[in-house]
């Protein structure tokens, strides 16, 4: 399957990968708060970037990959910058601060996520006392993501094989119809999954939320 549910580099081995998850999560959140609250002087930004780059290298994650993923926030940044002329003098300062905060935060996020296996994150949430229902729903989203993407791809292939591409309206209608079928199939799958859960004693343990 082409789609890596972000798990791309999370199976590597480095001090960051091996770090205790609770500690890592704490550090991660602390950094995010720092970047949100501290004024972004040149020195702060440079120090942050050096720190983050160093950590990426330590974790063995290619910087090119990081840069590509960080580009995700670009549309929003451009969106804000486009409207600068409408604002008063503090414009560039505000834009700079926003830019710096956004970049440092997203890099921190990428660092955390690339050094953490999703399933381990789920287990930790469970241990931290997250409501069972929440953890279970998250793990289902993860588990069935690939199954559903596969079904969607097959539907798309089938529809493309049967009809030539026409207009945008047609595309919208076709896509909506596929989503409709996908949601129905998803519901039916959930019925079978529930049966499978029951077969392995799920409802014998009483309500589990």
């Amino acid at each position: 399957m082409r789609h890596s549910f972000l798990d791309k580099y999370s199976d590597l081995d480095s001090p960051l990968h091996r770090m205790d998850l609770r500690l890592k999560l704490g550090a991660f959140l602390a950094l995010l708060i720092v970047f949100a609250a501290v004024p972004m002087y040149w020195e702060v930004v440079v120090a942050a970037l050096i720190l983050l780059t160093g950590l990426f290298l330590l974790a063995g994650i290619p910087l090119q990959y990081v840069a590509r993923r960080a580009l995700v926030i670009l549309p929003f940044l451009l969106f804000i910058i486009v409207f600068i002329p409408l604002f008063q003098e503090q414009t560039w300062l505000v834009a700079w601060h926003t830019f710096a905060r956004a970049v440092c935060s997203v890099l921190t996020l990428i660092l955390f996520v690339s050094t953490t296996r999703f399933v381990v994150l789920l287990q930790m949430l469970d241990e931290l006392g997250m409501p069972r229902m929440i953890v279970q729903v998250l793990s289902f989203i993860y588990r069935f993501f690939f199954v559903l993407i596969g079904e969607l791809e097959r539907m798309e292939l089938a529809s493309r094989a049967r009809a030539p591409r026409r207009g945008k309206m047609y595309y919208y209608k076709a896509l909506s119809r596929m989503l409709g079928m996908l949601i129905i199939r998803s519901y039916e799958r959930s019925e079978r999954v529930y049966q499978a859960m029951q077969l392995r004693g799920y409802d014998s343990e009483g309500t589990d939320a």
Binding site: V119, S139, A196, M197, L199, G201
Partner: protein, 247 residues
């Protein structure tokens, strides 16, 4: 000797009224390897669901002498291990370990016992070391074996496989056949893969119209062209005489 499984004049109608099982009766003894064949709509899957306590109809189903009823249905979940046709319906946890451990955990076993059961089940399906893998990274053959492991970990009395060879390439199918052969457990295999049933089962039941219409050795049943065609099946290629091969 009390049969391990007994259906006695069992009837079941779907909520919309269509009859699915109509006076189904048969017995399975401990240690038997039984195949259940029949056309689509014969009620094979319905019978398996009823045996697993997911449906309740009229008549009796007895497991080791005890009658299966709504109020004690859940009690039998451990004894009967049903493996669905599609592993994606049965593997719903992020990792193999969690899927195989799900059953034992629900049975209330302590961590040590759960870990042992998981290890043993994965060994039985020849997938030791797969515990941390995620199901979506597995091949269809591996997924099928994990699905079997999820049921084996509960240490059931009988293993039931519904259309087990679906979507398996010849190599995976061969592995599956070898695996089932090596396991020492009462087994029921339902499906259309007659050759597989011929290889693995010492007894076969033909179901049609919600009841059993044939019961005997797979070879003699499947070779009976009249019987097979009457129930919308056909004589498997390996059993056809030279003159019949053209069919």
């Amino acid at each position: 000797m009390t049969a391990l499984i007994e259906f006695e004049h069992y009837r079941y109608r779907y909520p919309d009224g269509t009859p699915a099982l109509n006076d189904l009766s048969f017995r399975i003894q401990k240690g038997e390897q039984v195949g259940i064949v029949g056309p689509n709509g014969a009620g094979k899957t319905t019978a398996l669901l009823a045996l697993s306590g997911l449906l309740f109809g009229e008549g009796a189903i007895r497991i080791e002498g005890e009658t299966l009823e709504r109020r004690n249905g859940k009690h039998f979940r451990q004894s009967v291990g049903l493996v669905f046709q599609n592993p994606d319906d049965q593997l719903f946890m992020p990792t193999v370990y969690e899927d195989v451990a799900f059953g034992p955990q629900n049975l209330g076993w302590d961590k040590g016992r759960v870990d042992e059961a998981v290890k043993a089940a994965l060994q039985a399906v020849e997938l030791e070391g797969y515990q941390e893998k995620s199901s979506h990274h597995l091949s269809s053959g591996e997924k099928k074996r994990v699905a079997i492991a999820t049921v084996l970990s509960m240490q059931p009395r009988v293993l039931i496989l519904d259309e087990p060879s679906t979507n398996l390439d010849p190599h995976a199918r061969r592995q599956l056949i070898n695996l089932i052969e090596s396991m020492d457990i009462t087994t029921i295999i339902a499906g259309h893969d007659l050759e597989l049933i011929l290889e693995l089962c010492d007894r076969a039941l033909i179901m049609a119209g919600g009841r059993a219409v044939g019961d005997g050795s797979p070879r003699s049943l499947f070779r009976d062209r009249f019987l097979m065609e009457k129930h919308l099946l056909e004589v498997p290629y390996s059993l056809r005489s030279r003159t019949e091969q053209a069919y």
